[in-house]
């Protein structure tokens, strides 16, 4: 993942163009209490075969970003003009008709959610739903769709796939349901998979299996995956790149190794220090001081300044830090961290 600024350089050099590019995304919600800014000036990109992890706590805007790609946000959402979400050379934000959106939803992009029951209609058999989804996006007949679906169920590690094909969602256990949801999402061979907290609700032993599954799928199909979670451990094991979000802004991004071993933004540092690590039982847990501000009370200047130990009066509460290069691939949005440009 590279910054927008270095985009042109890489494009001319690389063989693969970016699968997904988000430029200048600003998302606002109209609520009774006023307009809430959910995503602020977001730049992201992703190549085929890459896993990008988006990490953040509540209010960070990570889910909203993913849903914006599929235009799944609720009706009171405003995408400010100037923002672009480009998949395969088309700006998804410009799509208005359902026909155009259908190309992305389930076709080029698939999404899996935290709650597997949310994907499956409770009164329709799983197999029927999978076939229905396939028929919507591919011009194949029912029999072929059924074969593809059962094959997919097998590949995600569901034993007795034929039997499961004819079952209802509530007849499967949590882990199996999640795997079935992944099977359904993958059966249309999307180019991009959005995973919104897919393992948060699962037991840790099942989580490990699902993560392994996602990794092998990425390798086999060279899909791009955006993995949203609050769990840095999952990111460390699954993602190639990570973007850390706070209150709608990306505060730090870069390769996973670099960010975890050498974090620069105070929020990222704070998160890592607050995390209990099984391998280091002696380290004390240092919480990040303060509370996450409510979206109605966005701090001025740098959104993190109310909780930051590097806070400088007159600078951090006035100027808004842009995402700048700290090193080759590593970008930070902090006024107190020296970067290439400074």
């Amino acid at each position: 993942m590279v910054s927008a600024m270095r985009l042109t350089l890489i494009e001319t050099n690389s063989y693969m163009t970016n699968l997904l590019e988000i430029k200048n995304l600003n998302v606002e919600f109209d609520t009774d209490e006023g307009r809430i800014l959910a995503v602020n000036n977001l730049f992201l990109s992703l190549k085929e075969g890459e896993v990008l992890g988006i990490v953040g706590e509540s209010g960070s805007g990570k889910s909203v970003t993913a849903k914006s790609i599929m235009q799944l946000n609720p009706g009171n959402t405003h995408y400010k003009s100037g923002g672009e979400i480009i998949i395969d050379d088309e700006n998804v934000l410009k799509f208005d008709s359902t026909k155009d959106l259908k190309k992305i939803r389930g076709g080029k992009v698939s999404m899996i959610f935290q709650e597997p029951m949310a994907s499956f209609a409770p009164a329709i058999k799983i197999g029927h739903q999978m076939v229905e989804q396939l028929l919507l996006h591919k011009s194949i007949d029912k029999k072929e769709a059924k074969n593809i679906s059962i094959d997919m169920l097998n590949r995600v590690g569901i034993s007795d796939a034929e039997k499961r094909f004819n079952q209802y969602a509530f007849e499967l256990s949590g882990g199996m349901r999640q795997r079935a949801m992944i099977a359904m999402a993958l059966s249309t061979m999307p180019k991009l998979l959005l995973a919104d907290e897919p393992t948060t609700a699962l037991d840790v032993t099942i989580q490990a299996q699902v993560l392994d599954l996602i990794k092998s799928i990425v390798k086999e199909y060279q899909m791009g995956v955006i993995f949203i979670t609050h769990d840095l451990g999952v990111i460390a094991q699954t993602a190639d790149y990570v973007a850390v979000m706070y209150l709608g802004c990306v505060v730090e991004s870069g390769p996973v190794r670099e960010i975890i071993k050498n974090p620069k933004h105070p929020y990222t540092i704070g998160l890592l220090e607050a995390l209990p690590d099984v391998n280091n039982l002696d380290a004390p847990l240092k919480p990040v001081p303060g509370n996450i501000p409510s979206p109605l009370e966005r701090p001025s200047g740098c959104v993190f300044h109310t909780r930051c130990n590097l806070y400088e009066e007159g600078k951090c509460n006035i100027e808004f830090p842009e995402l700048k290069n700290y090193s080759d691939d590593h970008q930070v949005a902090c006024l107190k961290v020296s970067t290439y440009e400074q």
């Binding site: 009774d32 209490e33 006023g34 109605l296």
Partner: protein, 386 residues
């Protein structure tokens, strides 16, 4: 949008009730409906004062039967007048009208509207109940007034026209609103008490008691209401006074309407009972009484108020329907249903269209209840906050 810290503190220290009322006041549709509703309730309570004529047969105007509405005017070809007035009408029948009675307007003769005249007597809190058989009839003399808002110096003033017998439709409509609301209130009250008891027991104890109450509730609910009403209403002897009949119909409505409310009460209780803060209270050794009073009752007051307001229109409609088919309230008691009954003939449709004016009031009344109920429900619904 800058919110001052004072406003923020006010929000933080606001009780649940205050939050609900604030949200309700912010809902424009609900506020408009609420004001209309309030207006209608007030005019119904003051129906005696506002009606120039007695809505029963005693107040009929023999000179002006089936008369069209008379709107007071301030100006005619003779000039302007501060006092509103009406022209006289004389009955006339002749060959040119096919021997039907029509009214001719005499534009020279003015009759001026009077304000606060004395008129027919109307009573408040006067009850005269004759219970069948026993010597338990009681009478409360009540308060009597005879002032009215407006009248006319001679002849009659009929803002909504009159019916076949000459009864003033305006007075009848006001009185009907009052009666319909009263029957509705009583019916809702009775069904509320019943559903609170049965739904409350079912919801609080759960288990087999719940199962039993549920079976009973469902059994009552599956009885088709219209045949049931018809049977029970037909059972009421004609000798009963109109007040007695009134109480009877209201009680009937209450007894038929409780299952829906009971189910809601039970659901609320079951949900609240399994909330974790109830368990927290139990773990302190709180008694059932404490839990009910301190936790369950307050949590459910807002829901119950919403449910009550929402069930009102059903009561109204049921009473209207019953009276309309002749099984509910009857003449001389007015209710919106009774008034509608006389509007069914083809004659009326063609010639006396003003008979439909009460329908307008019924629609407005029901719609305002529905909007207020919706507004209350939106204001009280906790899901909005999450």
């Amino acid at each position: 949008m800058e919110i001052s810290s004072k406003q923020k503190e006010a929000y933080f220290t606001a009780t649940q009730m205050q939050l609900v009322t604030t949200r309700f006041f912010a809902n424009r549709a609900a506020m408009i409906a609420g004001s209309i509703l309030l207006f209608m309730i007030v005019i119904s309570l003051f129906s005696g004062f506002l009606s120039p004529y007695d809505p029963t047969i005693a107040g009929r105007d023999k000179e002006y039967e089936n008369g069209s509405p008379q709107i007071p005017i301030f100006w005619d070809h003779n000039g302007f007048s501060f006092r509103p007035f009406l022209h006289s009408k004389t009955k006339y029948r002749g060959a040119d009208t096919n021997f039907r009675w029509v009214y001719k307007v005499d534009t020279e003769n003015r009759r001026y509207i009077t304000f606060f005249p004395k008129g027919w007597e109307y009573k408040y809190f006067a009850y005269n109940i004759n219970l069948p058989g026993k010597n338990l009839d009681f009478r409360i003399p009540g308060l009597t007034f005879d002032r009215h808002l407006f009248g006319i110096d001679s002849g009659g003033i009929h803002l909504f026209g009159t019916d076949k017998a000459g009864k003033d439709l305006f007075s009848r409509t006001l009185n009907a609103i009052y009666i319909s609301l009263a029957v509705g209130t009583l019916g809702v009250f009775i069904s509320f008490v019943l559903s609170l008891i049965i739904g409350g027991i079912a919801g609080y104890y759960g288990g087999w008691i719940d199962g039993l109450c549920q079976m009973f509730t469902d059994a009552v609910r599956t009885i088709p209401p219209i045949p049931l009403f018809m049977c029970l209403a037909a059972f009421a002897p004609d000798t009963w006074s109109s007040e007695l009949r009134f109480f009877f119909i209201a009680t009937l409505l209450g007894f038929i309407g409780w299952p829906t409310l009971a189910r809601r009460v039970r659901t609320h209780l079951l949900t609240e009972r399994s909330q974790e803060y109830i368990l927290a209270a139990k773990l302190c050794g709180a008694s059932s009484t404490h839990i009910i009073i301190r936790h369950l009752l307050p949590s459910f007051t807002s829901y119950i108020i919403v449910d009550l307001v929402i069930s009102f229109p059903y009561m109204l409609l049921s009473e209207t329907a019953l009276s309309f088919i002749g099984l509910g309230l009857r003449e001389p008691v007015n209710s919106l249903g009774v008034l509608l009954q006389s509007a069914t003939k083809a004659d009326v449709l063609l010639n006396y269209q003003w008979y439909f004016l009460p329908v307008l009031f019924l629609i407005i009344l029901i719609l305002s209840f529905v909007f207020v109920g919706d507004g209350l429900r939106d204001a009280a619904d906790p899901h909005r906050n999450k």
